[in-house]
């Protein structure tokens, strides 16, 4: 029996069409002659790539796509067969394994050999090793933009200058060479203007998590909301219209006192628990995972994962007046580039500002970048806010590491624990 199709909202359909167009652009590079760059989500330089007519291909997104289509398990096994360790980030293994299985994109056509690897962010060291592997395979040039880690919690002018210098001296000349297109800073300014517009609308949408009932789910719904802006569309007109549309949808739900729509097509209005979630979601069992939340009445009002590609809600915007500097600031401020105290501050602030019941951490087995320090983060946020935290463990795209019974057990215990705390003892019914 096939599963019922997920119900989609207009913005989701629009996003789907955008993604399909991008895959088409990637896989038809030989026909169109356009150059392709592989790059990562956090700190990506999409607007800059657009200035050189380069198409943006994101291996993390490809791994997520494979995970949601239930293909990642096979790819991971394939990668392990060729010697990749069990504990390595499963995005990497899904990507590598996919190569040895024909490297087929979701549109059925093979991914092309990229013309350049644009490595613009190093908050996660896995990125470097990952592109080392791809470079071996594809024998294409790698442009590396080194982003200093914000070890003491903030960036300095020095760090920014250092990035701008690299952009001027290494990245831009490199991209010119790969593409044969001359860099035009006014073109970049125009794209950045679009980015800022879309970012405004995205932030507005995410902040509506403060409304009760929340018209959005800032984790499961949130990963769709951030799709265009964190990937190949930031800077495009498409992204601007997408976020306008999204904003109208959210506005509409607020007016009707509606919660977000679940994949089953119902509005999730009966919200009993408001959560802040830290850590990436699980993609192989995404809908099942989400269902465990809304079935119990838990809505996520803010999450850190929706900030991996930029902390726009903390005030950052791409700035057409300072184009290269704002690209530098953007790279510096991505969530994974923040030190632990800064993450704790942010999460504790979310708990307060969004009037959440507590912080839930989804610890990802194979992502060191996110998982290190998470228990400490939980304890610290608990201590500061006085609200209970909880810890679950899954994986990104490795289906072997999603144990539904185990996750459900912990989630239910957590929700009941919140309930019990609210009542200061046993309760007649679970409903608030």
């Amino acid at each position: 029996m096939s599963k019922p199709e997920a119900v989609k909202e207009p913005s989701m359909d629009m996003q789907k069409a955008m993604i399909a167009r991008n895959y088409e652009a990637i896989t038809s590079k030989h026909e169109t002659g356009r150059k392709v760059s592989n790059t990562f989500v956090p700190g990506n330089l999409n607007e800059l790539l657009m200035c050189f007519d380069i198409v943006n291909n994101l291996p993390e997104i490809n791994a997520i796509q494979a995970g949601m289509r239930k293909a990642s398990g096979g790819y991971i096994m394939e990668a392990e067969k060729s010697g990749h360790s069990e504990d390595v980030c499963t995005y990497v293994k899904a990507d590598i394994g996919q190569m040895s299985k024909g490297n087929i994109a979701p549109n059925g056509k093979p991914y092309p050999v990229p013309d350049v690897l644009m490595l613009s962010y190093t908050g996660c060291y896995t990125f470097m090793k990952w592109f080392e592997l791809l470079r071996e395979e594809y024998k294409c040039p790698t442009l590396m933009l080194h982003v200093p880690y914000e070890g003491d919690g903030h960036s300095t002018k020095n760090m920014r200058d250092y990035i701008v210098k690299q952009l001027k001296e290494v990245v831009i000349p490199g991209l010119e060479q790969v593409s044969g297109v001359k860099f035009d800073i006014d073109r970049l300014r125009q794209y950045l203007k679009n980015s800022a517009k879309a970012e405004d609308d995205l932030v507005w949408c995410l902040e509506q998590g403060k409304v009760k009932p929340s018209p959005i789910d800032a984790y499961f719904g949130g990963v769709y909301y951030i799709g265009p802006i964190f990937t190949a569309f930031r800077g495009t007109e498409d992204a601007v219209s997408y976020y306008e549309m999204l904003r109208k949808e959210v506005q509409g739900r607020i007016e009707n006192h509606q919660g977000p729509m679940t994949p089953e097509g119902t509005y999730f209005n009966d919200q009993k628990y408001r959560l802040i979630v830290e850590g990436p979601p699980n993609w192989t069992n995404f809908r099942e995972f989400w269902k465990m939340f809304y079935d119990e009445g838990a809505v996520v009002v803010a999450s850190s994962y929706t900030k991996v590609g930029g902390l726009y809600d903390q005030g950052f915007r791409h700035d057409p007046d300072n184009p290269l500097e704002s690209l530098a600031d953007y790279c510096l401020g991505c969530y994974t580039n923040l030190n632990l105290p800064t993450r704790v501050d942010l999460l504790a602030k979310y708990v307060e500002e969004y009037e959440a019941d507590g912080l839930l951490i989804n610890s990802i087995k194979s992502c060191n970048s996110f998982s290190a320090g998470q228990l400490m983060i939980m304890k610290e946020v608990e201590r500061r806010t006085g609200r209970p935290g909880a810890f679950i463990e899954t994986d990104l795209v490795d289906p072997r590491y999603f144990s539904a019974a185990n996750v459900k057990n912990r989630l239910e215990s957590y929700f009941q624990m919140i309930e019990q705390k609210r009542r200061g003892g046993g309760s007649k019914t679970v409903a608030a």
């Binding site: 909880a390 185990n406 239910e412 215990s413 009941q416 046993g426 007649k428 679970v430």
Partner: protein, 430 residues
Amino acid sequence: MRCFIGIDLGSTTTKAVVMDENLQILGRGITNSRSNYDTAAAVSKQEALIDTRLTLFRRALGGVPEVAGKVDDILSDLERNFRHVQFLEQLEDLQQTCIANIKGPRFAGREKTVIEALEGTFSRLRDSSAKQYAPGVKRKSDFFRDLAGAEFMSHGEAVCKEAGLGFDLILNVYDKSIIEVENRPPSGDMEGKFVRALEKGTMTGSSILAPVQSALAIPLEETYVVGTGYGRVRLPFPKEHIRSEILCHGLGAHMMYPETRTVLDIGGQDTKGIQVDPVGIVENFQMNDRCAAGCGRYLGYIADEMNMGLHELGPLAMKSNKQVRINSTCTVFAGAELRDRLALGEKREDILAGLHRAIILRAMSILSRAGGVKDQFTFTGGVAKNEAAVRELRKLIKENYGDVTINIDPDSIYTGALGGATFAVRAVVN
């Protein structure tokens, strides 16, 4: 009287606790969890209600001066007779079921002989059952299947031999039928059975009869039932009657030891470290991840590997005086490591001691992730019965957390059900 019931449907056993509205435990019941969760819940509940009756009898007899000092004997006599009545009833059911199952080509033309053999067997079983329930005899098991099974084998073989019939014929019918009988919820007429037990017994004196009968007349009214445990979603209860086992264990431990702040539960499927506040509310918990390594199931696996019974592991490990270091608490690798060690000539007790340590080390890591061990510390779950595991735990707790009080209740298997029953009381009374 109003009764509040907690049922903990575990992966191997199902437990029930009955409480009154003053949070006093009235009765406990246990049965093995079968594939049929409804039955397991019904059986454990009924067992707990039987135990509740006995508590009520005890209370009633407590006020009778003539029996002072003899109440224990009287009650054990009553329970013995009750169990016997119950056994005979189930035996009757089994006989009828067996007879009904004599069908198909295998039995063609031989039905009558087989029925006669069965009747003969059951009649001997009934006779010999009196011995099993005689005063002072220790029964080998509490489960009908075990008690009836052994006797059926010996009597059945004898009867068939005399009749010149192959034993496998009636054994086949028996195997099929015992499952049916076991999965049939017990008949509800508990009071009737007690009356018959009373009649069977020697307690004819009106000084006993009257109070017992008046205790028997108290209606046990099922006011609220809360279910928990791994099988909880399968329990035939509405959602608001279901509580997670983490909360139930936390609260149950608090009921047993109000001063407890940290609880460790090592069950068949998982290990939990729980912190509770002064009123029994869970503050924090951590669990093992997806795999059940280091839990009861792991020990079961080791026992199988070593060709031993689960209950023999602890005592053997206690004999060790040199611990072998076991690196793997992974169920899959442990077998290989075990065989390796044996091949290297290590002694079984030393290997087992190492295994117990490995399990407890893993539990210690879960505990520290849940925020460490605070005074008082309560250890629950099946592994709490294993002396070698307890020895390691005591050692490691002392090394890491100093002198904290360690509680291990002999009834700790009922912790989850106790928490459930407490929730049930609170749901109604508060």
